[in-house]
Every structure is written in C-alpha cells, then in structure tokens.
Symmetry: C2
Subunit: 436 residues, 2 copies
Amino acid sequence: MKPINVGLLGIGTVGGGTFSVLARNGEEIARRAGRPIQVSVVADRNLERTRRLTKDSCRVTDDAFAVVSDPDVDIVVELIGGDSVAKELVLQAIANGKHVVTANKALLAKHGNEIFAAAQKKGVMVAFEAAVAGGIPIIKALREGLTANRIEWIAGIINGTTNFILSEMRDKGLSFDVVLKEAQRLGYAEADPTFDVEGVDAAHKLSIMSAIAFGNSMSFDQAHIEGISQLDAADIRYAEQLGYRIKLLGITKRTSEGVELRVHPTLIPTRRLIANVEGAMNAVLVKGDAVGPTLYYGKGAGAEPTASAVIADLVDVTRMHTADPEHRVPHLAFQPDAMVDLPILPMADVITSYYLRLRVADRTGVLADVTRILADQEISIDAMIQREPAEGEEQTEIIMLTHQTRERNIDAAITRIASLDAVKGAIVRLRLEELL
Amino acid sequence: MKPINVGLLGIGTVGGGTFSVLARNGEEIARRAGRPIQVSVVADRNLERTRRLTKDSCRVTDDAFAVVSDPDVDIVVELIGGDSVAKELVLQAIANGKHVVTANKALLAKHGNEIFAAAQKKGVMVAFEAAVAGGIPIIKALREGLTANRIEWIAGIINGTTNFILSEMRDKGLSFDVVLKEAQRLGYAEADPTFDVEGVDAAHKLSIMSAIAFGNSMSFDQAHIEGISQLDAADIRYAEQLGYRIKLLGITKRTSEGVELRVHPTLIPTRRLIANVEGAMNAVLVKGDAVGPTLYYGKGAGAEPTASAVIADLVDVTRMHTADPEHRVPHLAFQPDAMVDLPILPMADVITSYYLRLRVADRTGVLADVTRILADQEISIDAMIQREPAEGEEQTEIIMLTHQTRERNIDAAITRIASLDAVKGAIVRLRLEELL
C-alpha cells in the first residue's frame, strides 16, 4: 500500500529519536499500521546536522513553512517546541488540511482551545500523546481506555527532573541546591532549570490531562503552580518519619464546586505505589468511579521514549486519516459540542490535608496555644512529632499532620499561630494527599 | 443521534456491573462516544434476577441465541464465560454481522484464531479489553499505545487470587493452605480454586498479550504453566532475605530462537515497582525497545473494574462501527496478512536465573560437591545463604541464586546434585527474573 508521508519539523532530541525509531522499526510499524510511514522531508535550522542524520533518505530544508504547505506531506510532526513559531506552523498546517502530531505541551496548554477548534473546523486530527509523560500512553488511557468512567481525580509525577532531585535529596540527605547541580551535571536538569523546578512544565501537562478527563476547556492560565526550589531537606526527613514521601504532584480533581488544578510538593503515604516512583521516572494515578485507581508508569522524557509516543500517534493518524471525522476519537476526549465550562477552584477553596512545621520556644503552654487556634478553625490533628531540644537549646520544632480542611482555614490558622510570641520564624506548610 | 443498541449475554457479576455503570454514567459516556449506548435486550438463564436488575428498562429473555440474531442489536456483549456455548454464540453473532465485545479470556486463548478469522472475513469487530487484567487498559496500550516499539518482553501479575495469597503468605508467614481458606472466605478465591491457583487463568491472559505483542498467532496450547499450590512459605522468607519477592508472573519474551510463554512463581528484586503490587491488584510490565519499561496497574477483576473495560470497548466499537474495516485497529495489533508464526520455545530452552534450596547433611565437602556440579554445567552462583544448623540438628539448608543459564542445564545439574549422598529430599527450584 502507498506509504504515508510525514513532514518532520525539528530534528533535535525527540525529532532525532523519531527519525531513528521509524528507520529501525519501520517494517514492524508498517505491519501494524497497514502501510509504511516514511519521513519525506525534514525541516531544521541546522542543515548540516539534518543531512548527517537523514543520510540522503529524504529531502531536507531549513524552511519549516515550506513543509506545512508541501502538497506531498500528509502529516506534519511538530517537534520545534515553544509557542510562537510552533503555533504559526501548526495553525498553517491545519489550514492546509494536514494532520498534525506534536509533543508541544506548552503550545497545547496555552493555545489548545484555539488549535483544536481550528482542527475541528478543518476536519483534521491533532495528536499529542508525546506532550504528556513521554512514552507512557496516558492520553490514550484517559481518552479511550477509561471512557466508561466518571474520572474523579488524577495525580501525576509528570516531571522527571524534579522527581530525580527529590529522590536524591531523600536518599542522600542533601539540599536542593546541591542536588540541582548534580542533576545539571548528569543532564537531568537544564542550565536554566526554572521551567522544571518551579512546576511550570508539570502544570502544562496537568492542564492537558484535566481537560481530557473532565471534558473541560484547557485552563492552564488558572492553574496553581508551586515548585520544589524552596523545599527543605528537613521536611523530607520528618515526612519519612511520619510514613510519607514528598513528591511534586500535578493534581486535578472534580468537586461539586468546580475543578482543582494544582502543582505543588505533596506528602503521600510511603506504601502507595506512586510514592515509590524514583529517579527521572514518571507515573500517573487516575481514579475512575468504575475502575477504581489505575496507574501508568514509564520514562517521561528522552529521545526514544518520546519518539514512541510520537510514532504511536502517527500510526493512529495513518489508520484514520481517510475516515470520516465522526469515527475519530475527539481531541479532548469528549465530542466538541459536549464540552463544558467547569470553573477552576481558587486554592483557598481547595480541601486537603496539611503538614506543618513550627519552630517554637521550648516552654510549656505553646502546644496548647497552637492546638487551640487549630481547633478554632475546626482543624483536627492526625499526627505530631515534637523534637526533643538538644542540651542547652532554647528552641525546638513541632511537626503536625492535619486532617482535611479548606486551604483558607489553614491559612487563617497559620497567620494566628505565626503571631504567637513563642513561635519563631516562618511556618512551613506542605499539602498531603492520601490518594485513595 | 440515534442510540447504539447492545444485546447483553449474561447479567452476572460483570454483566450486572456493565448494566449499572452504563445506567449511572450514560450521559457522560454519550458525550464521549457521540451517541447514547443503550442495552436493548438482556439474555440470562435467571429471568427473575434479570427482571429485577433491569427494572423494565429493556427487553429480557432466556434465549441468548435469539439475541445474536436480533436485527435490532448492533453489538453483542458476551459475558457468559466458558468456551462451549459462548463460542457458538460469538461465532453466530459474527455470522449475523454483529460486532462483539467479550471478557472471555478462555474462549479467546483457545479459539481466538478461529474467531478473529471469522470476524475479519465478515468485517466486524471483536473487542476484548476486559479479557486481560480487568479495568487496566493494557490491550489498548499494547495494540495502540506502543505501536512504535519492537516489544521485547511482558511480565504480568494478572491473577488477583494468587497475588492476594502470595501477599498474605509473606505478610503473615502462613502456609498456602491456610491462606487459601482465608481467601475463599473473603471471596478472593473460588470454591474450586484450581483454575486460578494452578496458573491456567493467568496463562489465558498471557497468551492473548503475547499474540498482540509479537504479531503471533494465539498459542495457549503451548504455554508452560505452573501455579503456586506447591510453594513453601520458607522459600518466600529466604527470598526476602536475599532481596527478592515471589510473584506468580506470566512472562512472554521474544528471543532469537522463538517466543517464551510461561506462567510460574518467580523471584523478582524487591525494589522493582511490580514487586510491590500487593493484594488482589494486577500489574503488567512491558519492555519496548524505544519506550523502555512501562507499567500498568489497577484492579484486575470485579464487577465495575471489568465493566469499565467492557464499556471502553463499546465506545470504541460505537465510534468505528460504520467505518471501513481498514480504519480499525487490527484484532491482534498487526494486520491479518502481516501475522507471523514464531515457534513457542520449550521450557528446556528458556534462559533465566534460578533459586535453589537444598537440604543437606551438616558436614564438610558438601558445598564443594554442589558447586563443582554447577560449574560443570557452566552455571555460576550469584548469592548464597547457608543456614546455621540448630543445636543437635544434623541437617541444614543451602539456598543459592544462580546467574542466567538454560533450563536444561540447571535441570541436569539438579539431577546430579540430588543423587549426592549428603543431599536429603527434593531440591526446590524457582525461577528468578531481574525485569530490567
């Protein structure tokens, strides 16, 4: 059968991986797809590298706009990244009636609503398995595998850099700054790591999963985002003593009031499978009302793991590209006319449990004052450690886990506790999820 | 849009779950599928229970053959189980041009080749996500999510009963017989547990995954099957001391010589995520050449988890049922004309590592004799425990882990070791997989 022709935009890490996996496994992929999938043209600014990688097996150009207008191209694979030129290219490809496969989470999180509307109007597919959690087929699981369910929540370790850093901080008892340098040396963190360590990358991915899970429009601009750069190794240790592990989770949850959409360091019980996802690995835990909890685990980044997702999309599009649009899986899992506009909840309205660490003067009555304030806000305490002060030390630390409460209540309590004479310095507040 | 009409065969546990999840989440499912999915007729021998469960919302009958011939039925859902009447019904439904959704692993493992050929000829779909690992969308992951990959191997905990029993044996230090009775009391094991505890159920599921992974025809009749009924609690303890956990794994692996297809108790390193899958949960670890290892975890049985998979298939079939067959995902992942016939390897040719436990007379020279025999077969030792004999005891135990070797070599060595004067009783031999 006639091969399908792919125009590849960008042959960096993921583009290079896609090119080489297609070459290596092309025969087996064709046996699955029903026809060969071939890269017919590659656009990249670095023509010399592009020629070296493609070895005359296809055309090369430095003009990406020529590729999205090329009449011989059936599917455009956008692996340039960023959300300016990439957006123009994707919209132009759609306008030209091309199907698009992309790994660009920033683009979809910010401009997905516009892009999917354009694709819908033109009757083309925009596939994006590679945009979330690399090679793990989590988009497929959410959009197709769990269609029977009312999805209740999703909690994911969806940034390998931060998970690597947290694993190392715990294992070796080192500080964030020291481990970040090590991660940069090993290539697990970028020279400018802000995007990863401050949780922005995770929030992009979370926004995409949230839209698909709830049939809601993409709401990245309303996500609450906290990273791990302020996390103290002492809190990782105390959490362990209490039976918890700290992970940077992306959490989205449907409540009767709206949708929670938040990325922040989170205590989770050590006995949960997801608490044991170590190093640069990714995992997504999904709670559906019928299936219960399911978990998806694998490499969330890297050339070939991400290429695995790009090519899975290519096979899907190859199978479906001549079919009526009605036969295809909707871009955001729900039919375009069946999307809803659920409000994203402000963090003050989120209900969860909390870990608090207070530095206090070592004298009687302090604990009574603190617990009185918590009780006034109807916050009850689940567990507590009071560190024994060392010989001659006049201050000590109290660590508490609370039961569930609304974030505005804990914040009100913290303000009052911080104003107590006996309380010294800032109060550490981390969120805790049981994930049951 | 016009609803799609489902004929449900069997309204027991899974049928009842399917009926009630469709009722509860029908509106949300229609928003995904693009049209309502409604059960229009249910066939079950127990008419009274059927009427009670369906509450006049659809027709009921005790004649399943009438349903598969019913012109108003678009999709037949077969949840009767077994492989005699169910086979006739499925083949009849296909002959009548109906699409089929089934959870029947025994039927597909034994008669899948015939059923898929009939469906292919007639241009209908046979969907079977629910046949493997309950609500975990593992069939979709293998058939669609990982299409870029040359799949190297799959290792799965795909029987909840046995995983529950092994978890309890380890946690509580109890024997198989005691825990089995407890599992039966809790409803985790059938009154006749043979099918589960002897590994047959796991082998059915493994055969289906193996065919999909490698594009091979269904080869259940050649699977090697060992259960857990002979497993001694002592070996679970020794394995723990050595850093391993014992799980009943279904393993299928592509080698240059053929396909390994085997179910047996297996030692796996405790630090692997899959080693920490406890109780009745299921998990499948898949190694692809591009994506690396990915893991899928969730409930492998039960009314609603299995219904989740049945209904996901119903949504897929609903979307695709008027599309050209060429647009659909092939039944066994590879196009029918691109299937191969890889040989299934006899166990003697399988290469893996081993755990050995020997009861020996407590005297010098025994260990030298044993290691000499292993060396003669080119088997090297990775770790060893020699239990200190108690005061006055004349026998002791030696536990060894070997490096990889061919099964015929270890068996030859065991025969020679067993004939040594100093070796008392049977030698325990378990297989060990690193799963990397």
